[in-house]
Amino acid sequence: MKLLEIDNIAASYGELRALDGLSFSIDDHETLALVGANGAGKTTLLRVLCGLMTPTRGEIRIDGVALAPGDPRAAANAGLALVPEGRLLFDSLSIEENLLIGQSARTGIWSLDAIYELFPILRDKRRLSPAALSGGQQQMAAIGRALAANPRVLLCDEISLGLSPLITGEVYAALERVQAEGTALVVVDQDVTRAARIADRVACMFQGRVTFEAEAATANAATLKDAYFGLTA
């Protein structure tokens, strides 16, 4: 059975259509690289998935069970966790408190210690405010905060935005270890090739729909570029 199924989802900001009848699914243990230009609807899709936005139609299913739409707690309890674009850590909370507040949803292998093992630097900085950390360390804290909920699918939005290539490499190395624990991933990244390298499949969004989907290993760069800029339509 599919782990996560997205069935004909549409969503809009007021009158602006952001998602327009979008469907795809993810298997257990699978990693999907979700790519597309600005405004293609990637962030909106992630927001709908974790309950921050209510879709105007369609259904999200986890293990075949429909998820209550627009309910962040239900999404968290069902095993969806988001690493938001721009990290969005809580500045009034210490790093450790940021991790602790993520813990409420589910129990599992991602204890505080396990997260500190994944990102040892966070243990050293656990008493500090996120503002005192570098961009890369903040991204690690954001991933840690999402992992603390022990998600079945980890949703990562613009994971390398604003990070140096070296730090990006570190972040991706950590994601590979998350993969190894059996967690499914949806990775959105500006750097398409970077995201595709970690993924089993690549899906390209354009104008609120998935316009192109392929095994990551076989994805053709030229076809991908056309899909990305909407030249296939």
Binding site: Y13, G14, R17, N38, T193, Q207, A221, F229, G230, A233
Partner: protein, 248 residues
């Protein structure tokens, strides 16, 4: 295309803006000329919206200057820049819901273009006609559909008789056939003014803009004839990342 470098219609030099110490636009130079239509693209966080804000005046530049026809606009408020000849159509239509379509256009015609009485009326008629809104003239804007409101947003900017028309993702949220209609409209609006169109759907710019500017991380990376920039490998690198074989 030849353009005399000494006297551009609008010249931005070294425009910079930071938010909480993080640079959003870093030292951007940009010239715009009458008759030109320039597309601006760039990934998330490239600084396109910030640049637009600096040109329109809703944001105050930390550094740099903005000169239009010899006048320094750098410190000028939004409403005075409109009179000076810079108008913007916003991404989310900012139409006046409880005014009719014609009244929506009278405001920029009177306060932006400085027209009065019958002259203003004639100009509003003309803009209505040009933007395909003539039949909706008496409808309250809040009863319009999205495409019509996008048209009205464009029409409002045009009604201010700008020399520089800035378009902020006016295609966002529309279907492809609807975007074609907007493209058609923008083509008509190019005459006699400079058009700068920020859009994240590059295909919309193709066929409307002959010049393309690419921004990334707050800086202007590429600027030149559309097809030339479009074929530039740097463009692909910015959007798609560097392919594996080149890393190796």
């Amino acid at each position: 295309m030849f353009c005399e470098k000494g006297n551009a219609l609008l010249r931005a030099t070294g425009l910079s803006k930071s938010f909480n110490g993080v640079p959003a636009v870093a030292s951007v130079d940009l010239d715009l000329d009458i008759g030109e239509s320039v597309g601006v693209i760039g990934p998330n966080g490239a600084g396109k919206s910030t640049l637009l804000g600096l040109l329109v005046g809703s944001l105050k530049a930390d550094e740099g200057r903005l000169i239009m026809e010899g006048r320094d606009l750098t410190r000028m408020a939004v409403h005075r820049r409109v009179s000076a000849g810079i108008a913007r159509a916003a991404q989310i239509p900012q139409t006046f819901g409880r005014l009719t379509v014609a009244e929506n256009l009278r405001l920029p015609a009177v306060f932006g273009a400085g027209l009065h009485g019958a002259e203003a009326e004639r100009w509003v008629e003309e803009v209505l006609e040009m933007c395909g809104l003539a039949e909706l003239a008496g409808t309250d804007a809040e009863h319009l559909g999205l495409l019509s409101r996008k048209r009205l947003e464009l029409a409002k900017a045009v009604a201010a008789r700008p020399k520089v028309l800035l378009l902020d993702e006016v295609g966002a949220g529309l279907t492809e056939p609807e975007i074609e209609q907007i493209m058609e409209l923008v083509r008509k609006l190019r005459d006699g003014r400079a058009v700068m169109w920020v859009e994240h759907i590059p295909f919309a710019l193709r066929g409307v803009c002959e010049r393309l500017v690419v921004m990334d991380k707050g800086a202007k990376i590429l600027d030149g004839p559309f097809e030339e920039v479009w074929a530039d490998p740097d463009l692909q690198a910015i959007y798609m990342g560097v392919p594996d074989d080149e890393v190796a």
